[in-house]
């Protein structure tokens, strides 16, 4: 046998590189998924620490721990860190780990781009967090960066804008990679309507991200030029329109809300059928409902701005369009319940978190419906009722789904079963404290307590103290989560390939832990 031009080598047997370069140069989807998840966990504690500073200050009326500017920096940074540094990277990490295995692909379509997408993130957040130590402090005008308020901060504002650009670049690159992977690398015979729901929800999320990130990039760049280069896009004195910033921002911001929750729907749609031991009820309707939610997310942005003022027809349109979102969301909730109905259910930790998601996300959804009603929203706007609403959507929604996913797929990642007893303790302690933390916010909000203030009227003292106790309880209970994860990584009962009795999908056909390379050759005809 003669070989005319050598250059091809066998990829079958190579494993990860040794040492820290493995993590710096890796193009392996599992390594990058792990990096995203660890980054998200670290940021969860940084963002959580900021939340505890906020709640410590609000434990009783009066100013006791921090000055008001720093308090406002904490509310702003807490939101930016939790949205862009925790929830989004965690979902991207889960996508990296699971999507190639779920569709039978060997890796992401663009592995080097994947490496860049991740390594931009720590740099972006170092830049953002460094602003806290700069003259004038970090951003303090809220995560929405409303002009003209945000333009009145210190010179660190430029760093904030650059860090948002980096986060956007990372998100766009990650999204393009996910779209390219899902469309081009599915197993032979796997049609779009045979993909797992997690893959579907991420595909739609990636579409949303690609559609709206340029809008955010443009908006914050105009803020930058208004602040430093003398333009007047949002400066009324120079002929600009500050209200237009709000329109542009929320045109990005509302789809962003769904970017934070659609992958969670996919995770829950994977977990509930496994532990109910029944196929997902209404798969096709779930796909169409996800698409409908994504479409509606583009035409409801002004419900964040009812108090800014708009024509009556506009108020009516945005109110009814917002209410329409409850229809596809209701389809999903009823489908999950129908999946559980008469199933052989067991309540392992992932299922507990999934059910917790279902119940508490619905509470958040119902308070969202209340906020959609224009005349009611004018009363609730900028009160703690809004804070209660979006925390019920994001914490038991997005964060619980990430925790559920971690417990669900951890045995596949590590090859070891996690400690079920401590997992369940984590769920129950978190759930109790979460409700102690956020439920009283409905009461103080309806009673008129405004958000983003370090001091408040005496009448709100009791429920604020309760909420602060809940915050510290919830915060410290997350140490159990860390303990369970690291205990599982270190060892434990060996997991089988299938891990869960009712699990279904290509990812459960590979050994546990999943080999460094999976599906280098496509699996057999999918049917």
């Amino acid at each position: 046998m003669s070989t005319a031009a050598a250059g091809h080598h066998d990829h079958d047997d190579h494993g990860p590189a040794k040492g820290w370069t493995r993590w710096l140069y890796t193009t392996n989807h599992k390594d990058i998924g792990t990096l995203y998840l660890l980054f998200s966990l670290v940021m969860f504690f940084i963002g959580g620490g900021m939340a505890l500073i906020i709640r410590a200050e609000l434990f009783q009326p009066g100013l006791q721990l921090v000055d008001p500017l720093f308090f406002n920096s904490m509310t702003t940074m807490h939101a930016l860190v939790m949205i862009f540094g925790v929830v989004m990277p965690a979902f991207v990490g889960l996508a990296n780990w699971m999507i190639p295995m779920m569709i039978g692909g060997p890796d992401m379509a663009l592995p080097r781009l994947n490496n860049w997408s991740f390594w931009i993130m720590p740099f972006a957040f170092l830049l953002l967090l460094s602003t806290l130590f700069m003259e004038g402090g970090g951003p303090a005008g809220g995560w929405t960066l409303y002009a003209p308020l945000s333009l009145q901060g210190g010179d660190s504002f430029a760093f904030v804008i650059f860090s948002i650009h980096f986060m956007g670049i990372s998100s766009v690159m990650g999204s393009i990679n996910i779209v390219a992977t899902i469309f081009n690398m599915r197993a032979p015979g796997m049609t779009l309507m045979q993909m797992p729901l997690f893959v579907w929800t991420w595909l739609i999320t990636a579409y949303l991200l690609i559609a709206v990130i340029p809008v955010l990039a443009g908006a914050v760049t105009m803020l930058l030029t208004d602040r430093f280069f003398g333009t007047s896009f949002f400066n009324a004195a120079g002929g600009g329109d500050p209200v237009m910033y709000q329109h542009i921002f929320w045109f990005f911001g509302h789809p962003e809300v769904y970017i934070l929750i659609l992958p969670a729907f996919g995770i829950i749609s994977s977990i509930i059928p496994t532990f109910a031991r029944k196929p997902l009820f209404g798969y096709a309707s779930m796909v169409y409902a996800t698409g409908s939610i994504a479409f509606l997310s583009f035409i409801v942005w002004a419900h964040h701005m009812f108090t800014v003022g708009m024509p009556l027809a506009g108020e009516m349109f945005f109110m009814f369009a917002t209410m329409m979102i409850s229809v596809p969301t209701g389809v999903k909730v009823f489908n999950w319940i129908a999946t559980m109905w008469r199933g052989s259910m067991t309540f392992e930790t992932p299922m507990l978190f999934a059910i917790g998601f279902l119940v508490m996300f619905t509470i958040g959804g119902l308070s969202g419906l209340m906020l959609a009603i224009t005349p009611a929203d004018i009363q609730y706007h900028d009160t703690y009722f809004v804070v209660a609403h979006f925390h019920y959507v994001l914490v038991p929604g997005a964060i619980y789904s990430i925790m559920a996913a971690t417990y669900y797929w951890l045995p596949k990642w590590t090859g070891n079963m996690y400690d079920e007893k401590w997992g369940k303790i984590h769920f129950w302690v978190s759930t109790v404290f979460l409700n102690v933390l956020f439920f009283p916010m409905h009461f103080v909000g309806l009673a008129g307590m405004p958000r983003r203030i370090p001091d408040y009227s005496l009448q709100f003292a009791d429920w604020n103290a309760v909420a602060s106790i809940g915050a510290f309880g919830f915060g410290f209970s997350q140490l159990i989560f860390v303990y369970v994860i690291f205990k599982c990584i270190k060892g434990g009962e060996k997991a089988t390939s299938e891990v869960w009795e009712g699990a279904d999908g290509l990812e459960w056909t590979v050994p546990s832990p999943a080999p460094y390379h999976t599906f280098e050759k496509p699996p057999a005809q999918f049917s």
């Binding site: 046998m1 003669s2 081009n184």
Partner: protein
């Protein structure tokens, strides 16, 4: 994907083995255009109010989408062409052009396929000659490897026809 074709210039019958691609290039272009169209629409409407800075970002993003989809598609274009030229078996592989070319005498070449019992292992199909082994069809799934194996058996055992139609 395994297909048989006749080289119009030489008349030599070839087996062409391609990696799995779940979407055509045309569909990729439609996908990029749909994403670019949505971004252009949003950017255009916002620009019409005087806030034009969204447009350059939308344009840059469209370029990135197009380039990335093109790159991803090309990466999946790994192709092997197996030809019987006289008494030699020629195996060429690469992306746009043949990068690796292996040549072996057909009378001394054997084909082997380790068919694994597991549904999710694809097995190894290889050509063996003079103590050396060359894996072929590495991008195929098990069914396609079985087809290629049968075809290679026919090809190596009989003088005529050299390569038969794969059903």
């Amino acid at each position: 994907m395994v297909s048989r074709q006749v080289n119009s210039e030489t008349g030599i019958t070839q087996i062409v083995v391609r990696a799995n691609k779940s979407m055509s290039w045309r569909a990729n272009v439609i996908l990029a255009a749909s994403l670019g169209g949505i971004s252009a629409l949003f950017g255009g409407v916002i620009a019409s109010f005087g806030f034009w800075m969204v447009l350059p970002f939308a344009g840059l993003e469209f370029l990135l989408v197009y380039i990335c989809l093109g790159k991803a598609y090309r990466r999946l274009g790994y192709t092997e062409v197996i030809s019987m030229v006289g008494d030699k078996l020629l195996v060429e592989s690469g992306y746009d052009n043949p990068v690796v070319t292996s040549e072996m005498p057909s009378h001394w070449t054997r084909v082997s396929f380790a068919d694994p019992p597991s549904a999710f292992e694809v097995g190894r199909l290889s050509l063996q000659c003079s103590g050396k082994s060359l894996e072929i069809g590495r991008a195929l799934n098990k069914e396609e490897k079985r087809l290629l194996y049968k075809e290679m058996l026919r090809c190596l055992q009989f003088d005529e026809p050299k390569l038969r139609l794969i059903s």
